[in-house]
């Protein structure tokens, strides 16, 4: 014995209607979380940084860094600068040795370049954020 098509449609519609009303009027962890799920729309392709990070500036460096280049991140204050550079500049190679890098991403650093490194072209990506082509001597 099966329910008729109209009965089934009525059950589905009634369930959705009751659920929508319950969401509005019933307090509690479940309804709060569903409302959070509904409302949680961050219109940004950037990560929710856990430290104030200028991701857009680092993303802008993609315009200059070629896939075969390597880069070094020169920063002292933002722990997100490295992973952000990895996220946006890959497939370029990151290196922990500035002497081997094609580019230095200078991120809010005390000096434009790390000690012993010389640069040629400088691109300003944001406030105190620069991309500098390293020159090997």
């Amino acid at each position: 014995v099966r329910l008729s098509l109209w009965t089934r449609i009525a059950i589905v519609v009634a369930t959705l209607a009751v659920g929508a009303v319950a969401l509005k009027v019933v307090p509690g962890p479940v309804t709060e979380r569903i409302k959070w799920l509904e409302a949680n729309r961050f219109a940004s392709a950037e990560p929710q940084w856990d430290f104030p990070t200028d991701g857009a500036a680092i993303r802008a460096a993609r315009a200059y860094v070629r896939p075969t280049d390597s880069f070094y991140v020169w920063e002292v204050s933002d722990p997100n600068a490295w992973p952000a550079a990895l996220l946006y500049l890959t497939p370029a190679w990151e290196t922990v040795d500035p002497a081997k890098a094609t580019w230095i991403l200078s991120y809010d650093a005390p000096t434009l370049l790390p000690p012993g490194v010389h640069g040629s072209e400088v691109h300003e990506l944001g406030p105190r954020i620069f991309l500098v082509r390293a020159v090997r001597r």
Partner: protein, 461 residues
């Protein structure tokens, strides 16, 4: 966000197509509706096989780009077609699939409608929101982008965050990014949402015939309504996907051992391989789950089924060996050293870590605001069922949950990192498998108990 959604949908479609190819032998002559009912199974199977395959390709020196994915997909589909040509599966009886009474059908409709509505919200919420967990952007996606662009580079890899983590999840995320044509971190939540909804659909299909429909829908709805489950669908981490694979492995394994469905045997191996390719938690959870599920063979007393189940588990374990060998060869140790972690002197010296860990895990599992008390409810129901029916099989989930909790305590006990930091940043999610399993246990046990009490002893008991 449209491009990102297109990328996620393209990845979903590719994984489902690979999965359907893999399981096509079992869908021979099936109606369109029946074939469609396997969409979640196909997606999860395609994802599991692809994650494991991509990891092995990376270890073999290939870049895990779209070309490699296409070759891997073609190989997996060809494998499925070869199985179809060589093997005709025996039909599987699904005694509980019929809704039964009108009340039962109405209950299934109500619970099922609510479940589908929540699943739709998860999908919509996923693709338009930014992950809240920093793991998502600090290593999961960047590692995938490196694998895609340059492959597994031994000069670079050891310097990355968590270099010992498996490669499959990162590789899949990077493919989603590539298919979307740009880097948009919301893609991670889109893929994660697809996984969670795929898991719900796959589990419903695998429980079909073992458990009556209202109980299937009710158990899964309980999971889908759990506030912590919903919160983590927007997290961007790999804890939910690995829990999805581990629990789906248990359900598939139980289905094979109890009703002899050979598709479930294939899925047992594929889901285990997928779990091993996603996150390290599976290294501990899978053996525990495999032992507990394997004990179900005693119920059916089928040596053949047990041996084939063991073979599927063994085959899955083999897929993780290349990555383990690569790590060993390139000096990338696991965070947890199993030998050291069993050293009594080492454990005794850190015994003060046990109590805070146990307390934290207990708090998360018994907090109404997180998992709706599903774990204590499942434990109580299992004990009551065992007492009422005098069947020890009902205590199996109790042992399994206890073993999982003990395993987690042991992991935090032996981990070299600061305990407060570890517990605060990860304990709420590394235990995902336990409440997810508890929801399935509630459904299965409630159905079996009511069946036995009403004198209809068919089903999984």
């Amino acid at each position: 966000v449209i491009r990102t959604a297109v990328g996620v949908l393209a990845l979903d479609a590719a994984l489902a197509a690979i999965g359907y190819g893999l399981i096509c032998a079992w869908l021979r002559g099936a109606s369109l509706a029946r074939t469609a009912s396997f969409a979640g199974v196909a997606f999860l199977a395609g994802a599991g096989a692809s994650a494991a395959g991509l990891e092995m390709l990376a270890v073999a020196g290939a870049r895990t780009n779209l070309a490699a994915f296409a070759v891997l997909g073609a190989f997996l589909v060809a494998t499925g077609v070869a199985i179809r040509a060589a093997y005709t599966p025996a039909p599987v009886e699904e005694p509980a699939a019929s809704p039964g009474s009108r009340v039962s059908e109405a209950a299934t409709l109500v619970l099922g409608t609510a479940l589908v509505a929540i699943a739709a919200l998860i999908l919509l919420g996923g693709v338009r929101s930014t992950p809240w967990l920093d793991d998502s952007w600090s290593f999961w996606l960047p590692k995938g982008l490196i694998l895609e662009a340059r492959g597994l580079d031994p000069k670079v890899w050891p310097g990355l965050n968590h270099p010992d983590y498996p490669l499959g999840w990162s590789a899949l995320l990077a493919l989603g990014s590539r298919l979307g044509g740009h880097i948009d971190i919301r893609e991670l939540n889109g893929v994660l949402a697809s996984f969670t909804v795929g898991f719900l659909a796959a589990t419903a299909r695998l429980l079909w015939g073992l458990v009556r429909p209202p109980f299937v829908a009710g158990g899964l709805l309980l999971l889908a309504l759990s506030p912590e489950f919903l919160r983590q669908t927007l997290g961007g981490g790999a804890d939910l996907p690995v829990a999805c694979f581990v629990v789906a492995f248990a359900v598939a394994g139980a289905r094979w051992l109890l009703v002899g469905d050979s598709l479930a045997l294939l899925l047992t191996g594929v889901f285990a391989a997928g779990a091993l390719a996603v996150k390290n938690e599976s290294d501990l959870e899978l053996p525990l789950m495999a032992l507990a599920v394997g004990a179900l063979a005693l119920v059916r007393r089928s040596r053949r089924r047990f041996l084939l189940y063991a073979a599927a588990c063994g085959a899955a374990a083999l897929t993780a060996l290349p990555w383990a060998a690569w790590r060993r060869a390139h000096g990338v140790p696991a965070t947890l050293n199993p030998l050291k972690a069993l050293d009594p002197a080492f454990l005794a010296g850190r015994a003060d870590r046990v109590r805070p860990t146990a307390t934290t895990i207990y708090h998360h599992l018994t907090n109404l605001d997180e998992w709706l008390l599903v774990v204590p409810a499942a434990l109580v129901l299992c004990v009551v069922a065992a007492a009422l029916t005098r069947r020890l099989v009902f205590l199996l989930p109790v042992l399994l949950i206890a073993a999982n909790v003990a395993g987690l305590v042991w992991v935090y006990w032996t981990d070299p990192n600061d305990l407060s930091y570890l517990l605060g940043t990860s304990a709420y999610r590394t235990l995902d498998t336990i409440p997810m399993l508890a929801c399935i246990v509630l459904a299965v046990t409630a159905d079996a108990l009511l069946r036995l009490r009403s004198g209809r002893p068919r089903g999984p008991n």
